[in-house]
């Protein structure tokens, strides 16, 4: 039996990656505002996702204001799809350990 991806399995990271899967790019404020996490918490989750290669972080300037954008990578998208497939498979296993699918 394969393990669920531990990086994605964490609830906040799962939600960050799912939101990013729906759009081309977002910034820190959008994720902060939508998820209601603290800045430090969000930063550490993004950091973990970036290190895993699931999220691309792009820093730029809008005039003098720093702007950080996040995008899901193809690797991140694939990992998310595999995670949901795996979770569905687990949900379909009955208490006797037999796969209902």
């Amino acid at each position: 039996m394969s393990e669920l991806d531990r990086i994605i399995h964490e609830p906040a990271r799962l939600r960050i990656l799912t939101i990013l899967a729906g759009v081309e790019a977002t910034d820190f404020n959008f994720l902060l505002n939508t998820l209601g996490l603290t800045k430090g918490n969000l930063s550490s989750h993004i950091d973990r996702l970036e290190k895993a290669g699931y999220v691309k972080v792009e820093k730029s300037f809008n005039g003098r204001v720093p702007h950080t954008e996040f995008q899901i990578t193809p690797q991140g998208r694939e990992a998310l799809e595999n995670y949901w497939k795996e979770l569905d498979r687990i949900r379909n296993i009955n208490p006797q350990g037999e796969d209902n699918t």
Binding site: A12, A25, T26, D27
Partner: protein, 252 residues
């Protein structure tokens, strides 16, 4: 295997509401539209001046107003391609949605300026409206048919703009209402302004229906954001509280 329930709603639902929210942030298009309407208003006023000059036989005023029509056209082309407009739209968008953060539904919507073929199409639409203004000036076209005449060009251009800029479902209200207004006028429904308010017959449908569609889109974006927040935060707050409590226990 650790089988922790993440209490996450259907992921497809989160993806869908994120997209719906991102696509219905229509205020930036309202800024673009205000600029377009501003030029159309100038053209309408100059056309009215041309007509008055023609009737009065005032050749100097007539040629001057024709020159102004051409200037208005070039002004329109400039505001369509200039960096100044792009910056203005960006600033207004930031002012409106800055607190909510940046979100881009796709690559094409992210580009600050419209592609040339779309600008050319809008230019052609404007030439078509100048032609209509001239036809009215020379009394070849009745002012009451200006809106249906305009709808023939404006409805397909709007459809292309909405499709290209991916403005979302509610933006389609705009060409639908504008087209419907034209059909009702042609069938003689009493929805036109009498003289001397004839010009409102074109100004109100052009601005009003656009404004309604953009506003409905904007209101929908509020709802989409609320839905997105509720489904993404579902179960997350409990988890974070639990995590925080465990963290505090560990530090004791």
């Amino acid at each position: 295997m650790q089988k922790k329930d993440n209490h996450i709603a259907d992921p497809q639902e989160i993806i869908q509401w994120t997209r719906r929210y991102a696509r219905s942030r229509t205020i930036y298009f309202l800024v673009q539209w205000c600029l377009i309407v501003f030029v159309i208003c100038i053209i309408g006023l100059v056309a009215s001046l041309t007509q008055q000059a023609y009737v009065a036989g005032n050749k100097a005023l007539f040629y001057t107003s024709v020159v102004f029509l051409v200037i208005a056209f070039f002004f329109f082309m400039w505001i369509s391609v200039s960096q100044w407009t792009a910056e203005l739209v960006w600033q207004v968008t930031q002012w409106f949605y800055g607190k909510e953060g940046f979100v881009s539904p796709d690559e094409k919507k992210r580009s600050k300026t419209l592609p040339r073929w779309v600008i050319a199409l809008i230019g052609l639409m404007l030439v078509y409206h100048i032609l209509a203004a001239l036809l009215i000036s020379f009394r070849y076209l009745s002012l009451q048919y200006l809106q249906p005449f305009s709808a023939v060009a404006l409805v397909p251009v709007l459809c292309i703009l909405i499709y290209y800029q991916d403005l979302g479902f509610w933006a389609w209200l705009w060409p639908i209402l504008y087209g419907l207004h034209a059909i009702l006028l042609l069938y003689g429904f009493p929805i036109s302004f009498p003289a001397p308010w004839h010009l409102l017959n074109i100004m109100i449908p052009i601005f009003g229906y656009g404004f309604i569609a953009i506003l409905v889109g904007h209101i929908y974006s509020r709802y989409a954001l609320w839905r997105l927040k509720s489904i993404t935060r579902q179960g997350l707050e409990e988890y974070l509280d639990k995590e925080q409590c465990e963290g505090q226990k560990d530090t004791r």
